[in-house]
């Protein structure tokens, strides 16, 4: 039996697609410090990015990225939890400075150094609370091979258009598993550019522009003074205490993300008519969920599937979808259900159940068992 006659199938891993997509989307530079299981991203970036710099640690990585971003470059890095923990203060800085960048976070088993070679979905709670003050750190997840291409592009687009760091969330198996994959169907990508200020008036680096996003100027420009700062500041980039001008700007950082979220809301909703049960899964567990849904439906069970790709901030459409169901099952490879708690709180909800575990992939049968219960 010949099932696939296509001539354009390659053997790929997700890392290769992510790097190629980010470069074609306009990323200029990869700065990185090696860490398992993000090493393939580092390796491919070394071969593919116009500029590649090896940093001496993860704090330096993010600081260099911010420095490059002030000059108009669009930087990327890839890391795992131990490295990301070191980056976090600087990610806060990038968010406050409104510098675009993508951090590919490849999840592995923690706590601490944990097991470097074991995948996980354990970092979402950290991302949800990672910006001091409850601000949103946009987080986009990869849930299948095509997403390595399309979601990497969307993450970069979101970073540049909203002038914010964006996390591209993956896990070990998603970036390291090799798979036969046909690249012929992938959409062509265009480089995404900073939105430069071209006015004659004095440039105000944090003046809200279209959709609350300030227009950009690099510190290399000769015509306007550019002030960039991580401390509370007004529209001119002058440090403030808790003045009205300072707070207006700080609150805008959140409004900017929330007001534009609909343009960057990505998900798959596989709805089955008459279904009263909804399965939610993201990232690596989406694969097991797709298989579970297929088998359940073959067995006559009615169940819908929601695969959120924009994980944070939570798009309101997910709540609208969830409200239509009597039973909701959320499958994640972590203890306690991190996305479940983000959606429903610690108090939970009688209609919501979790399928959770660590140190191994959640299996389709574990998911089917909970749905059929």
């Amino acid at each position: 039996m010949i099932v696939n006659k296509k001539e354009s199938r390659l053997l790929h891993d997700g890392s290769k697609l992510i790097v190629e997509s980010l470069v074609q989307s306009g990323a200029d530079i990869f700065i990185g410090y090696p860490i398992t299981p993000a090493n393939l991203l580092y390796l491919y970036s070394h071969k593919r990015f116009p500029t590649f710099i090896a940093a001496p640690d993860e704090i330096t990585t993010l600081q260099w990225m911010c420095g490059f971003a002030t000059t108009g470059k669009i930087p990327v890095t890839a890391t795992s939890f131990p490295g990301f923990a070191l980056m976090l203060e600087s990610v806060n800085m990038a968010l406050m400075m409104e510098l675009p960048m993508v951090v590919v976070l490849v999840q592995r088993l923690g706590p601490a150094t944990g097991t470097a070679t074991c995948g996980s979905q354990g970092d979402l709670a950290l991302l949800n609370g990672g910006i001091s003050g409850g601000f949103s750190l946009p987080t986009i997840s990869i849930s299948k091979m095509e997403d390595c291409w399309t979601m990497s592009n969307k993450a970069l687009k979101m970073a540049v258009e909203l002038r914010s760091p964006v996390i591209l969330l993956t896990s070990k198996e998603e970036v390291m598993t090799q798979a036969s994959f046909d690249i012929a169907g992938l959409p062509l990508l265009k480089p995404i550019k900073n939105n430069y200020y071209s006015g004659k008036a004095i440039y105000q680096p944090y003046k809200p522009g279209k959709n609350l996003v300030p227009e950009f100027l690099a510190v290399s420009n000769k015509n306007h003074q550019v002030r960039i700062t991580a401390s509370t500041h007004n529209q001119d980039g002058i440090i403030q205490g808790t003045t009205a001008a300072g707070m207006d700007n700080t609150k805008r950082l959140e409004s900017k993300i929330i007001n534009n979220l609909d343009k960057f809301t990505f998900y798959e909703y596989n709805k089955q008519e008459g279904a009263e049960k909804l399965l939610i899964a993201y990232g690596i567990t989406a694969a097991a969920s797709r298989e579970a849904i297929k088998t359940l439906r073959e067995n006559g069970e009615k169940v819908s599937l929601l695969i959120p790709k924009t994980l944070l901030p939570v798009p309101p459409i997910y709540i609208e979808i969830i409200e239509k169901y009597q039973k909701v099952v959320i499958a994640e490879e972590n203890l306690g259900g991190q996305y479940r708690k983000i959606l429903f709180g610690v108090y939970g909800n009688n209609k919501v159940k979790g399928v959770n575990g660590i140190a191994k992939l959640i299996t389709p049968s574990e998911i089917m068992e909970e749905i059929s219960r």
Binding site: M1, I2, V3, N4, K5, K6, E7, S8, R9, L10, L11, K16, E20, T36, Y44, K47, R48, F49, P50, T51, I53, P56, D57, I59, T60, Q63, W64, M65, C66, G67, A69, T70, T71, E89, S90, M93, T117, E173, Q178, A179, S180, V219, S220, N221, K222, Q225, V226, R227, I228, T229, A230, I238, I239, A287, R290, E291, K360, L361, T363, P364
Partner: protein
């Protein structure tokens, strides 16, 4: 007339040396005829960091202790020796960001760092830093420092800076700043100051010059030996990671009716991952969907090496293999790794090297001397040939094709792989 500073008063306490650093920076930049729009001032947290609003240049204000790393990124991003990146940092920030200083000097980033060393943390109440000299008292260290502070100039000169000097923050030191700003690559000037709010009060009657002398901190140029600098390499139009030559077109037919989950377990250095990739490619040549998950310890050159392979006529959604159909074991490491999986098999096949003990299992067992027949280095690849030959699910010719296109074919005779 000021060109780089605004005309408003500087924001520092009366008698603070930080004001002199700002004023002599103005003078030095004027000496060198810089345009304010060609200068980027990078500052961080500490009293010195509130200077931003007083400068007419571009300004970037970051996290405590990170301004040198941030400035390094700005400098490498500008990638233009005609632009001037100046980093202001305190002794507290230099303590936190010591590695950034060493690293920037080592790389030769085009920038000048001015350390405002007043020997304590002025913004948070006068705590000691690693630069606090022996015997110097601060509000939280009334007994005085028990150890000498860092000699940052010696450290940074040793790290490879183009220019390093230490100056007293009293009197006109604009000539030394002019010298530092004029250098290509990484330059650093440490300005010795005393904090009028905490340093003077905790050390009444102490003279800065005497203190510096007693601390053995020499006022001199420590390095002035090169003008080389970091240049950011930009390689446009690099080759795509996708290559048409890597495409694997369907050439053969297969007999697979349902997914085959195959687990290959061997030892590092015995070709397990390569063998698994061969099976994947053979499957693709035979029109199948294919996935492979590799498992091995972080020390990739020792211990087990395993791969979970799925070949399927249908799209593969879930790539895990909790219950493999076939487990193929070629070494003791591989057996140790797969023992539980083998024990839990309720059917399927176990291929195992004849030299190994056969574990308890409900799988159908075939033992074969893979290691003895072709040597340990080739045993994994050989086991794949053996499996395809006997299973006939996909044509062995597909594997022969993959083998012949690989580098291994130059070192290993295919006939050996087909001799059972």
């Amino acid at each position: 007339m000021n060109k780089f500073l605004t005309d408003t008063a500087l924001p520092f306490c009366k008698g603070c040396g930080h004001s002199q650093v700002a004023q002599y920076t103005e003078k030095a930049l004027q000496n060198l005829n810089y345009d304010p729009m060609d200068v980027v001032m990078v500052t961080d947290i500490g009293c010195h960091g509130i200077i931003d609003k007083s400068f007419t240049t571009h300004t970037v204000h970051g996290l405590h202790g990170r301004s040198v790393a941030l400035g390094s990124g700005v400098s490498a991003g500008l990638n233009n020796p005609n632009k001037k990146v100046i980093v202001f940092i305190g002794d507290g920030g230099a303590t936190i960001g010591m590695q950034h200083l060493i690293d920037a000097a080592h790389n030769g980033f085009n920038m000048t760092v001015l350390i405002h060393n007043n020997m304590l943390y002025g913004m948070t109440g006068g705590q000691p830093s690693e630069f606090t000299p022996f015997g110097f008292k601060t509000p939280t260290l009334p007994e005085g420092a028990k150890e000498a502070g860092y000699d940052i100039c010696k450290l940074i000169a040793a790290a490879g800076a183009s220019y390093v000097s230490r100056v007293m923050g009293i009197g006109d030191f604009s000539a030394q700043l002019t010298e530092a700003f004029s250098k290509k690559g990484f330059s650093l000037v440490e300005v010795m100051e005393i904090c009028p709010s905490y340093g003077v009060k905790s050390n009444p009657g102490m003279k800065l010059s005497k203190l510096v002398e007693e601390a053995g901190l020499e006022i001199k140029v420590f390095a002035d030996n090169k003008n080389s600098f970091y240049q950011t390499e930009i390689k446009e139009n690099r080759k795509s990671l996708f290559s048409k030559e890597d495409a694997i077109p369907t050439k053969y037919e297969n007999k697979l009716k349902k997914p085959l989950r195959f687990m290959l377990c061997g030892s590092a250095g015995e070709g397990t991952q390569v063998a698994a990739e061969f099976l994947l490619k053979a499957g693709m040549l035979s029109g199948l969907h294919a996935t492979k998950k590799g498992s091995y310890p972080v020390t990739v050159g020792v211990g087990f090496s395993a791969a979970e392979i799925i070949l399927s006529p249908d799209e593969i959604l879930y790539t895990g293999s909790p219950n493999p159909d076939v487990v193929c074991v070629t070494s003791q490491d591989g057996l140790d790794y797969a023992r539980n999986t083998i024990r839990n098999m309720s059917g399927g096949k176990l291929l195992i090297d004849s030299s190994l003990e056969i574990p308890e299992t409900k799988a159908e067992v075939s033992a074969f001397p893979f290691r003895e027949k072709v040597g340990i280095r080739n045993s994994s690849i050989y086991s794949i040939f053996y499996y395809l030959k006997n299973s006939e699910l996909i044509p062995i010719d597909s594997l022969v094709d993959v083998f012949n296109e690989s580098k291994i074919s130059k070192k290993l005779d295919i006939a050996k792989m087909l001799d059972f």
